[in-house]
Subunit: 358 residues, 2 copies
Amino acid sequence: MSTKPELKNDLLLRALLREPVETTPIWVMRQAGRYLPEYRATRQKAGDFLTLCKTPELACEVTLQPLERFPLDAAILFSDILTIPDAMGLGLYFTEGEGPKFKNTIRSEADLKKIGIPDPEDDLGYVMDAVRLIRQELGGKVPLIGFSGSPWTLATYMVEGGSAKVFANTKSMMFDRPDLMHQLLDKLSQSVASYLNAQIAAGAQSVMIFDTWGGSLNTQNYREFSLQYMKKIVSQLTRENDGRKVPVVIFTKGGAQWLEDIADSGCDAVGLDWTIELKDARARIGDRVALQGNMDPCVLYASPERIKQEVAHILKSFGHGNGHVFNLGHGIHPTINPEHTGALVEAVHDLSKQYHTK
Amino acid sequence: MSTKPELKNDLLLRALLREPVETTPIWVMRQAGRYLPEYRATRQKAGDFLTLCKTPELACEVTLQPLERFPLDAAILFSDILTIPDAMGLGLYFTEGEGPKFKNTIRSEADLKKIGIPDPEDDLGYVMDAVRLIRQELGGKVPLIGFSGSPWTLATYMVEGGSAKVFANTKSMMFDRPDLMHQLLDKLSQSVASYLNAQIAAGAQSVMIFDTWGGSLNTQNYREFSLQYMKKIVSQLTRENDGRKVPVVIFTKGGAQWLEDIADSGCDAVGLDWTIELKDARARIGDRVALQGNMDPCVLYASPERIKQEVAHILKSFGHGNGHVFNLGHGIHPTINPEHTGALVEAVHDLSKQYHTK
């Protein structure tokens, strides 16, 4: 018996399940972020990024900020993809301007033995508390999206000890010690599945797996070291919340060439970056899954008029029919003018109506 | 009447023109580079990177270094893609660990008016002198590849003032002032065509256009702002040297989704990064062009045995028939053990023979 308020705007859930909608829903990757002055104020109040992530009240506050400004069709949990490795004991920290770092790395059998599967409520309770608080504060306005990094993406940070471009250590392990890499990915996929299930239990109404670095792999390696583990996760997820199906989205940045494989993974929707035309993507996968994307985030540097043109192009490229969630093809850049985000949301709602009339 | 010595190893030229070969030729992007101790010694002698590029004797010296170590099937001119913007007066300089920078940027009509089309022999004579010297020193051992950056790729550095990840300024100009961007790209494509023709006149036996950042564009923008200008360049090139055809290679990093478009550009071969299987690429483009690539450069971090396995996989993926030049899918990383490069070259020569018997 749920005491939760009824969901007032369920456009996102319907679109992700390819059900009819009146307008194309839109949310924006990193919609709660540095481009918003109110976010910067809360972050300053928190002191540092990690405290912001680990304080449910503050995470809830920034999650809701973009919804105050724009009529977005979803909220996404404010958190970081590296909470899982942090809970495994790697010691996540952030240095200004340098991105995330870990005190410990995973490069050997001995390193691997030290890490276990985190218990979501015990070890990552701050995330679950944030989810519960956000659901409460949202009051059914829009659905809440939970998320996790993909096992491969998390592994790159854990092996490199932070951000990297080339992934020399991670790929060395993959090529020379595939057995070790598979052990790490197996632990990570168990952790991600239990983490996402806990988010769903706490109230997440849809979940997304961010495979930010899957696109750095060749086709064979992508299937073996990234997609395989995302499939395992998808197969283990609780797919129901408040009596509704919980849609699962997989987003591999740079993964357009593996679209068919991703669509066959068991997910409900595929997130796309901007390097593929939606009409081509749709022609390739038919009605198997919904598509989420895919405007170049740099379009938001252009004028509102130009933004509108690009929105029109993307909506037309998808065309009539169900199964499109509008989004950027990657996170919004920190130097974007928030008014341009407003112009984007307005354009998507205005211009998409024509594609949803019978 | 050519007094140049006969070309002893023409495997590269034949493979790029899809003619029969006995073994698959191999060269390596950035084969003359920091991973070689002898390169680091010459660079130290030069004092800085730009002096190394601008001193024909030193550029020749480093161009030939990898050929002394490995039985590579081609030499590639040692130079930098930013010589053209430098000759346009932008003031190229390098700061240790930070990559290339320009003193001046191109962001307005006024900026654009200040730049002209460089004369290759007057303004870039050091490059042509290097080409002539390398040809002489090579003595017909292997063919010499000339190269240039693509107009779009050069434009990103000129507008940003150096390296960038997001291309905020470049894309702002593209989205908001496409007229200005087209003027810049037009000047650049004229410059690149005359630069490559001068390299061919000086002795380059094949030329390659590096479109390092074309993959940052969406499909529509890629066609309009990158591929269109590479096509124009290809149509203007002198395609003959010493009585042989000069094959032209186009390489767009991250461009696998536009393979058919690139293959139709008028080039002889398409360079591929490692995110596509050669057998899939070949199925898509048939015999229209040759393919160059495409091993993940990180495989060279693995053991020689593992490198050999990956070479076997790539050769098998291309299969029997003509039109494959082996290469990495991107430049070799500076921290690679040179012995691993030797193992790669040996494996390609050994394992490819079976694909070229009747």
